[in-house]
């Protein structure tokens, strides 16, 4: 029996592909990561099949590349480094459980944001989302990537909203993390009132933290619970404009301190235009009318006294704004706060907002603290200028994280994939700016593609420690080899 036949025996003939089209589709993404075709694509439907695939990979020494989101991919983490088999989890699409009382949902990796949000809405819940995720983005994929969400007050830990998981480690062993580990089966735990809301442990190790951020190098998640929040009954968004970013920062810090507002983020004019406009011309037109920086803050009322909550929050926001010399308004240059909130509350319309301007986009993102962002932005503009990339076409997204202790700083470099000259220019800018921003103290905590070597060369001890962890959970290095420091 050939290796393909063995995979067919596990997942069925219809769920193993080796057509040139299928392999080509998984061989590259929108990033600068080197192309490489997998040998096969397998699409398991349940944990048993996943476990059998991982065990087979260990027997045969075959690399596995887990993929949960649909295309387009942007970061190179789903592009094989050494060939192997893509494990496409898109058939695992069950929303296993929504528990309203404990505000938690249990989903499989193929569940995308839009699918989960519509089911949560029926229960009066929502899941904090990244900034306008693409429609094909997996909820679990996003959580595993520690993707920032737009509501910092709910991010108690950078790992939020990920809670418990079921994982097939690289060894092929099945494990449940957090309180889901036991004692008892899931059904036993549900009967006792548990709802897999505590991600920590079991006991003295936080296993889930070793899987999160691993780019599929430790194992394959087959379900996870995620922390949901109440669906607002009333929302009142405000926009605060400034030509100078520094003028918004102290106000933002105060809102974070006082836990005022749900959604709380800063976009530059390009990115605000990009999430609202339909095409390139609209983006350009809107970008040119908008102020350079817009802080978005949305106050909300939930099930309990929603009107009263919105009223006190609105007044407190206004008092705070007055103290810091800024002016929250409900619309800026024809852009309504409600339109912005609609964009933030749903997945991106097609085409994905980052691709609308020129068809391609390369992101540089890292963690820092909010007050340091102007220095990074200044550096980025200088480097773009030197590279001949128009600063007006750079999207900037600042997202306070961990309830304000850190800030996600993201630059979006739009480019035309059909123009080799422009792509080469952006490639150089991407690499050089990444290095420079890292040198300045940007923390590339999620080192995709070429960032991995840069990041681990600055932190050799972490690389050494992670290799020990890798040796425990994936000793044969079958899980997405070639990524991170493995």
């Amino acid at each position: 029996m050939s290796e393909k036949e063995k995979l067919v025996a596990i997942v069925g003939d219809a769920n193993v592909s080796d057509t040139p089209e299928a392999l080509e589709a998984y061989s590259r993404d929108e990033s600068f990561v080197r192309q490489m075709k997998p040998q096969l694509v397998a699409r398991p439907q349940n944990v048993d099949e996943v476990q059998q695939i991982v065990k087979w990979a260990n027997r045969t020494g075959t690399p596995l590349i887990p993929v949960s989101s649909g295309p387009p991919h942007f970061r190179g983490d789903t592009v094989p480094s050494l060939g192997g088999v893509v494990v496409d989890l898109s058939r695992m699409k069950r929303i296993i459980r929504i528990n309203r009382r404990n505000r938690v949902a249990m989903v499989e990796p193929g569940v995308a944001f839009a699918e989960l949000q519509s089911e949560l809405k029926k229960e009066g819940l929502r899941l904090p989302m990244p900034l306008c995720p693409r429609s094909s983005k997996s909820v679990i994929g996003s959580c595993l990537e520690r993707e920032p969400t737009t509501i910092p007050k709910y991010q108690w830990d950078i790992s939020d909203p990920l809670l418990c998981t079921e994982v097939v480690f690289g060894t092929g062993d099945l494990f449940r993390t957090g309180e889901a580990a036991g004692p008892g089966s899931l059904e036993d735990q549900w009967a006792s009132g548990q709802a897999q809301t505590n991600p920590m442990g079991p006991f003295q190790v936080d296993f889930f933290r070793l899987i999160q951020g691993a780019q599929g190098t430790m194992g394959i998640i087959t379900w996870a619970t995620v922390k949901c929040e109440l669906l607002p009954q009333i929302q009142k968004p405000f926009l605060v404009a400034s030509q100078k970013l520094e003028d918004l920062l102290d106000f933002t810090y105060r809102l974070l301190w006082a836990r005022l507002g749900d959604e709380l983020l800063i976009l530059n004019n390009f990115n605000l235009a990009a999430i609202l406009a339909k095409d390139r011309d609209e983006i350009k037109a809107l970008r040119d009318t908008l102020p350079r920086w817009v802080l978005i803050v949305c106050v909300a009322g939930y099930e309990r006294l929603p009107q009263e909550r919105v009223e006190y929050q609105e007044k407190d926001v206004m008092d705070t704004a007055q103290r810091f010399g800024v002016t929250p308004v409900i619309a800026i240059q024809g852009v309504q706060g409600s339109d912005v909130m609609e964009a933030l509350s749903t997945v991106s319309a097609e085409p994905y907002w980052k691709l609308r301007f020129k068809g391609g986009c390369h992101d540089i993102f890292f963690l820092t603290t909010l007050e340091k962002t102007p220095e990074f932005i200044s550096c980025m503009y200088q480097m773009a200028d030197a590279a001949g990339h128009p600063g007006t076409d750079i999207g900037i997204y600042l997202q306070p994280q961990i309830q304000g202790r850190a800030c996600h700083c993201e630059f979006n470099l739009s480019c035309d994939p059909g123009s080799p000259k422009e792509m080469e220019k952006v490639r150089h800018l991407f690499f050089n700016a990444s290095k420079e921003l890292m040198e300045m103290g940007g923390f590339f905590s999620r080192p995709y593609g070429p960032w991995a070597e840069m990041a681990y060369s600055r932190d050799g001890q972490s690389a050494m420690a992670l290799r020990k962890v890798k040796g425990i959970f994936d000793p044969n290095n079958v899980m997405n080899p070639g990524k991170l420091c493995f």
Binding site: S192, F207, D316, E371, G441, F443, S462, I472
Partner: protein, 517 residues
């Protein structure tokens, strides 16, 4: 086993002769521990071979490397109490980190501090309050190490409704690994500061600790970034009255109440609704019925008399809550929301707890996380049980179960008669999870009482398994072997971690695991 003099000299050369001792009288002060009797049958755990007081990460590193070279084990200790803080067997030296007691930084804007191991909760709280900030204090009290709770132990405290759990509050960490290498977790390792503890890539916080910490089994933590939270009160907090009935005048931006409900179910509903409304600054069962009398009693007879009053009265299904707000408007909203919740759940504010001086005492008790010392008063010592971090419903089920299990031990006179209900705990992160641990009070000098306490702890642990009530807080040796097979064999993975990170088994494994073969 006695430390070889050559080794002693090597260690003395690292910290200086004034910072090392192997005098028995000194060593026994470390061996004397709360709950030691559950390990050794006496109030003393194993005597360490020597105690060292390193003053810097460099000295800690040198000690750890010397231990690896000389085949001896080490155990770090900051403010620790409990046998898991002292050495677990022969041939182990104790590292007392009390000289590393500095608050290195308070980043007011980004709301975090950087602390050394011997910075205690009250020390950080006082400094943070001057800047409009506060820190999460655990139930073990404001006298415990902030760093130890964040990196190495559990982390429950009733401010958790607003300030989370110690595991979730830790940011970057400086960590001397078991083999003596220094690992700087997260942003610190990349030279970016203390704001993040995760990455690049997977978070090594996962190795550092779990729901409870590694209890000294995976190295020594020498600095950490820790989240701070808003404080809406004045920069300093005056006290009034005489201890233990001293109070703190309640600032205008706060309120303190004791709430009572007609049943466990109503109490559970109310806590969920409080969480959903996102109100509350401190909240939980701070004063379960069995605990209330010890606040003011002077004798066991007083306790029994007072207990009868509170058990049959409103305190059976009670919680305490502090509302705290950024503005008068917000406080008004929180009050209205709480009134609504009380109406819906047939709850009420306990009238006798509304007297201002009583509320001031309650406020101090909750803000300063005081009260733990009181549970030593009645019988000499206490132990705890159950208390998994889980959904609030399951936590309440644990509280009910604990009361039920305790009955027979009370009836046979093995543990103090606290009425059965001494379930302490709360709900954290706006009620995303919670815990109720069942406390027992017993006489460690009475063999029958000690035996009863041990049997109860064992029975309650088994009950947590049988009833699928999560992973208990009670820490006993061999816990991993007992719970591992019931929880995805997690202990086998821990053994592999221990082997990979501590090839010489230099970090005392007594309350962690022995490495894999």
């Amino acid at each position: 086993m006695t430390l070889h003099r050559n080794v002693y000299q090597v260690l003395a050369d690292i910290v200086g002769h004034e910072n090392i001792s192997d005098e028995p009288v000194i060593l026994d002060t470390y061996a004397f521990q709360w709950l030691a009797e559950t390990i050794s049958g006496t109030k003393f755990c194993t005597r360490p071979e020597a105690v060292l007081l390193p003053g810097s990460v460099e000295e800690v590193q040198a000690i750890v490397k010397a231990c690896n070279s000389n085949g001896i084990r080490y155990k770090a200790f900051s403010t620790g109490w409990g046998p898991w803080n002292t050495v677990g067997g022969e041939g182990v030296i104790q590292l007392d980190l009390r000289r590393m007691n500095r608050i290195l930084e308070i980043d007011e804007k980004n709301m975090f501090a950087v602390v050394e191991p011997y910075v205690i909760g009250s020390q950080l709280q006082v400094e943070a309050m001057k800047k409009g900030l506060n820190c999460h204090l655990i139930g073990a009290g404001a006298n415990t190490s902030i760093l130890a709770s964040a990196t190495s132990m559990a982390g429950y405290g009733l401010s958790g409704i607003f300030m989370g759990y110690s595991n979730c509050n830790v940011l970057a960490v400086e960590w001397v690994l078991p083999d003596g290498e220094i690992l700087k977790l997260g942003s610190l390792g990349s030279g970016a500061g203390w704001f993040g503890g995760d990455g690049p890539g997977p978070s090594l916080r996962g190795v550092m600790r779990g729901m409870i910490g590694a209890l000294g089994g995976i190295g020594v933590f020498t600095k950490c970034g820790i989240k701070l939270y808003p404080w809406y009160g004045p920069p300093t907090t005056p006290m009034e009255g005489i201890h233990p009935l001293d109070g703190m005048p309640i600032p205008e931006s706060y309120q303190a109440h004791s709430l009572t409900f007609p049943s466990w179910e109503a109490l559970a509903d109310a806590v969920y609704r409080i969480g959903e409304a996102e109100i509350g600054y401190v909240m939980g069962r701070a004063l379960p019925p069995g605990l209330i009398p010890v606040i003011s009693i002077s004798s066991a007879a007083d306790y029994t008399q007072m207990l009868q009053m509170v058990t049959i009265d409103e305190f059976k299904y009670a919680i305490q809550i502090i509302l705290g707000a950024n503005s008068a408007r917000e406080l008004e909203y929180q009050k209205r929301a709480l009134e609504d919740i009380l109406k819906e759940t047939r709850g009420k504010i306990i009238p006798m707890m509304e007297e201002q001086s009583v509320k001031n005492i309650l406020f101090r008790h909750l803000i300063k996380s005081e009260g733990i010392s009181r549970v030593f008063q009645l019988a000499g010592t206490f132990a705890t049980s159950l208390g998994a971090g889980t959904s609030w419903d399951a936590a309440v089920a644990s509280g009910k179960l604990g009361e039920q299990l305790k009955r027979k031990y009370i009836e046979r006179g093995a543990i103090a008669d606290d009425g059965g209900d001494l379930a302490w705990g709360g709900a954290y992160q706006h009620c995303r999870f919670g815990h109720l641990e069942e406390i027992i009070m017993y006489d460690f000098q009475d063999p029958d009482s000690l035996k009863g306490a041990e049997e109860y702890i064992e029975e309650s642990a088994q009950a947590a398994i049988d009833k699928s009530l999560g992973q208990p807080i009670s820490i006993v040796r061999g816990m991993a072997e007992q719970f591992g097979p019931t929880s995805c064999d997690y202990h086998i993975w821990m053994k592999r971690i221990k082997k990979a990170f501590d090839p010489n088994i230099a970090a005392d494994p007594s309350f962690y695991v022995e490495p894999a073969e």
